[in-house]
């Protein structure tokens, strides 16, 4: 009788159905019987271990969490030391005492010694002070990004790629169509033969050429100087044509612009509204009304028909196979890979309970493809519940020690579940074959919390927006690697109702800061953990936004 009741109460405890009155009853039963207490503890342990077996925790994330926690703990410890030795205002007025400063310096040294290995790349520790100076200098002079470049021929900056950061200074385009985004927020279309000077995140000088400026409200105040005038954006869109002799035409397309001839600075600027156009023939002349019908910013972009640039893609995997189990050794389709998909090796953390599936589960039609990606409607990779890792080596490495821009995109569908657990996670990690557990770049999409970026150094960045529920998502990561400046990683998740624009977005869900990476990444590692299946597809890695994002004029990759 007692044994039966013990079983009932034990089962109720394990399944969360123990009522308050039963807790008291169970207590009475256990208090006098040590053997029952021992058995109860053993069965509780087995119950919890069963959960661990069925929902293997993601060691990689856990290790990162420990290392990040360690870095934070060490920093906090040093902060405490600093706080305890910092002289109070009263002490500062009193006789100088060198001891607190020596202790503070020691604490600073300790901070550098303890925290740095976790927060910075190993080679940065060996780096000299001059690199830091260069980095600071370079960072302070970058003012804009090159978003789009169609048939561009540059005169003074060599081969500029889309996505690249642009430092302040002259920018001369001989021909083509380009779009810049200034760090202040204004976007500028440059068409044909043009000479500009990028002055600051909020200002440019146009020596000659045709430009159209679009400055959203938050970028209001963007200033354009020409040889004849100074134009101050007041939250608007306007077109400027500057002749080689400096004569300037301004056409306000939306909002308001203040215009002032350069040699008449004491004069109040004239504010023009949408539909008004003026010409300023020289620095000394007054603006005169003209008729001009310029094209809007969006029209110009549309007419330029920026299509996808799949030919630039470094690596592509579309899982375009027949539905069913595909042996890993046969998963050789795609572009830019050194071999088929595979499991982890022992050096990469092989676990027999997680790495013994020798096939890919290919399914069709399991994702709502809201974007023009026909490949996404054919084969796709299903990752069932549990912990799964798949690895593939790229032919072209992502070299973070040199200047370069890289984009990664993929589609994912995670069916909705009422209960979200901590281990519910999907991530795509770029790793190095030479140093698997060294520096890496992870684009993580956990169900618990927002999207995240991790670098394998115990440094992580998390976005606030939750992931869209029960719909397909299109994810884009951007890696801006710079030799002597801060590396920057960004991640943006698009839901089914969000359109993929021709230009990379102004807002990203997660943006890194203070990174200095130098790894050469050649492995793509996809990891799915937790209950519930995930469907993954259309992985692309390339040098530009358009090389990884489906736009109009789509042409499928040949696998």
């Amino acid at each position: 009788m007692t044994t039966n009741r013990f079983d009932d109460l034990m089962e109720a405890l394990l399944d969360g159905g123990l009522q308050s009155s039963e807790v008291a009853e169970f207590d009475q039963l256990l208090v006098s019987d040590q053997a029952l207490r021992q058995e109860a503890l053993n069965r509780l342990a087995e119950h919890r271990l069963l959960s661990l077996i069925h929902q293997p925790t993601d060691d990689e994330v856990a290790v990162e969490a420990v290392m990040a926690g360690l870095a934070q703990s060490q920093a906090h410890q040093v902060e405490s030391i600093m706080a305890s030795v910092a002289p109070t205002p009263r002490r500062r007025q009193a006789k100088r005492n060198w001891l607190p400063w020596v202790v503070a310096c020691a604490a600073m040294l300790m901070l550098v010694t303890l925290v740095r290995p976790f927060l910075t790349a190993p080679n940065d520790v060996a780096g000299g002070g001059s690199n830091a100076d260069d980095r600071l200098e370079k960072q302070t002079t970058e003012v804009a990004s090159l978003l789009l470049c169609q048939n561009c021929e540059w005169e003074n900056r060599g081969l500029l790629d889309e996505g690249e950061r642009l430092a302040a200074g002259p920018l001369r385009m001989k021909s083509g169509f380009a779009v810049l985004r200034f760090d202040g927020g204004a976007e500028v279309v440059i068409q044909g033969d043009a000479a500009l000077e990028l002055l600051s995140p909020g200002a440019a000088r146009v020596h000659y050429g045709d430009v159209v400026v679009r400055a959203p409200e938050e970028a209001a105040g963007f200033k354009v100087e020409t040889p004849a005038s100074e134009l101050l954006d007041l939250g608007t869109e306007f077109s400027v044509r500057v002749e080689r002799n400096g004569a300037t035409e301004l056409d306000v397309l939306d909002g308001e612009v203040a215009v002032r001839p350069l040699a008449a600075k004491v004069q109040e600027p004239r504010v023009l509204k949408a539909g008004q156009a003026v010409a300023v023939d020289s620095a000394k002349s007054q603006p005169r009304e003209i008729n001009r019908a310029s094209k809007r910013f969006a029209t110009l972009i549309r007419e330029a028909r920026p299509n996808s640039r799949w030919e630039l893609t470094h690596a592509y995997a579309g899982f375009n196979y027949d539905a069913g189990r595909l042996p890993l050794a046969d998963s050789h389709r795609g572009l830019g890979w050194s071999g088929p998909w595979r499991e982890r090796t022992h050096a990469e953390g092989f676990r027999p309970d997680q790495d013994l599936s020798k096939s890919l589960d290919i399914v069709h039609g399991r994702m709502n493809v809201a974007w023009p990606v026909p490949g996404g409607r054919r084969g796709m990779l299903r990752m069932p519940s549990g912990f799964h890792v798949r690895i593939r080596q790229m032919r072209k490495k992502i070299d973070l020690s040199k200047n370069g821009t890289y984009y990664v995109s993929f589609m994912l569908r995670v069916p909705a579940r009422e209960e979200v657990r901590r281990q519910d996670d999907f991530r795509l990690t770029l790793r190095s074959m030479e140093d698997y557990f060294g520096e890496s770049v992870t684009l993580g999409l956990p169900r618990h919390g927002g999207p995240r970026i991790q670098t394998g150094l115990g440094v992580g960045f998390r976005g606030r927006s939750p992931l869209p529920e029960d719909e397909s998502i299109f994810c884009v990561g951007k890696i801006l690697a710079r030799q002597n400046a801060e590396d920057r990683i960004k991640l943006r998740v698009f839901g089914e109702t969000e359109e993929l624009e021709s230009l990379e977005p102004r807002e990203w869900d997660v943006v890194s800061r203070d990174l200095d990476l130098s790894a050469r990444l050649d492995l793509v590692v996809i990891t799915s953990a937790g209950p519930g299946e995930r469907v993954f597809d259309e992985l692309r890695i390339g040098p530009t936004w358009r090389s990884v994002v489906p736009l109009i004029g789509y042409e499928e990759n040949e696998e």
Binding site: E11, V23, A24, L30, E39, N42, A45, H47, I53, D353
Partner: protein, 192 residues
């Protein structure tokens, strides 16, 4: 799970002791499964396992100078985890509401007492459980998967399997007892 190489772990611990913070990543990577298995098995409902595991490694790093290379690092680390867990269990026990609602006081006290006594290596219990699980027929494993992998409640399981909640409850109880007996038998065999 890979077999641990104590010499390799000691080598990395020695590097950490000499100031190589990066070497600690290897140590964490190798031992996090062991520490988690221990904490999961020895903690009561309500304990944040991830937090205890993380704190254990942080505490171990802070005290790494106290470890004597050549002795047993896993045992040393599990002792730290044991004290972290003991502190948390005691904290939970002091929360009056906790026992009234969830766990009998006698069970919590027994758990604390055992934590005070030793840090049994729960990793072997995990491996034995896996072996016992592998010996179950697929239909039984499916029931356990619904409960533990999908996290379904008894009523959800009953709906999925088109059976009554009572029948599911009974089968789960039998399966758990069967696994418990299997593990108890194997532990006894190992100790012989």
């Amino acid at each position: 799970m890979e077999t641990l190489d104590p010499r390799k772990i000691d080598k990395h611990v020695a590097l950490v002791q000499r100031g190589d913070g990066d070497a600690y990543r290897y140590v964490v990577n190798q031992l996090i499964g062991h520490v988690r298995a221990f904490v999961v098995a020895r903690s009561l409902p309500g304990v944040d396992v991830d937090e205890i595991v993380q704190q254990s490694f942080i505490e171990a790093f802070t005290s790494i100078g106290d470890y004597e290379v050549g002795t047993d690092f896993v045992a040393w680390l599990l002792t730290i985890a044991r004290y972290q867990l003991l502190r948390e269990t005691a904290r939970l026990r002091r929360a009056a509401d906790y026992h009234r609602k969830y766990v009998p006081v006698a069970l919590a006290k027994e758990s604390e007492q055992q934590l005070n006594e030793s840090a049994s290596v729960e990793h072997s219990r995990l491996q034995l459980l896996q072996q016992c699980l592998d010996g179950l027929p697929p239909s039984a494993r499916r029931v356990l998967a619904l409960r533990y992998e999908q996290g379904d409640s008894i009523s959800q399981m009953a709906e999925s399997l088109d059976r009554s909640a009572g029948a599911i409850r009974k089968q789960l109880c039998l399966l758990r007892k069967q696994l418990h007996e299997c593990i108890t038998r194997r532990i006894a065999q190992e100790q012989r």
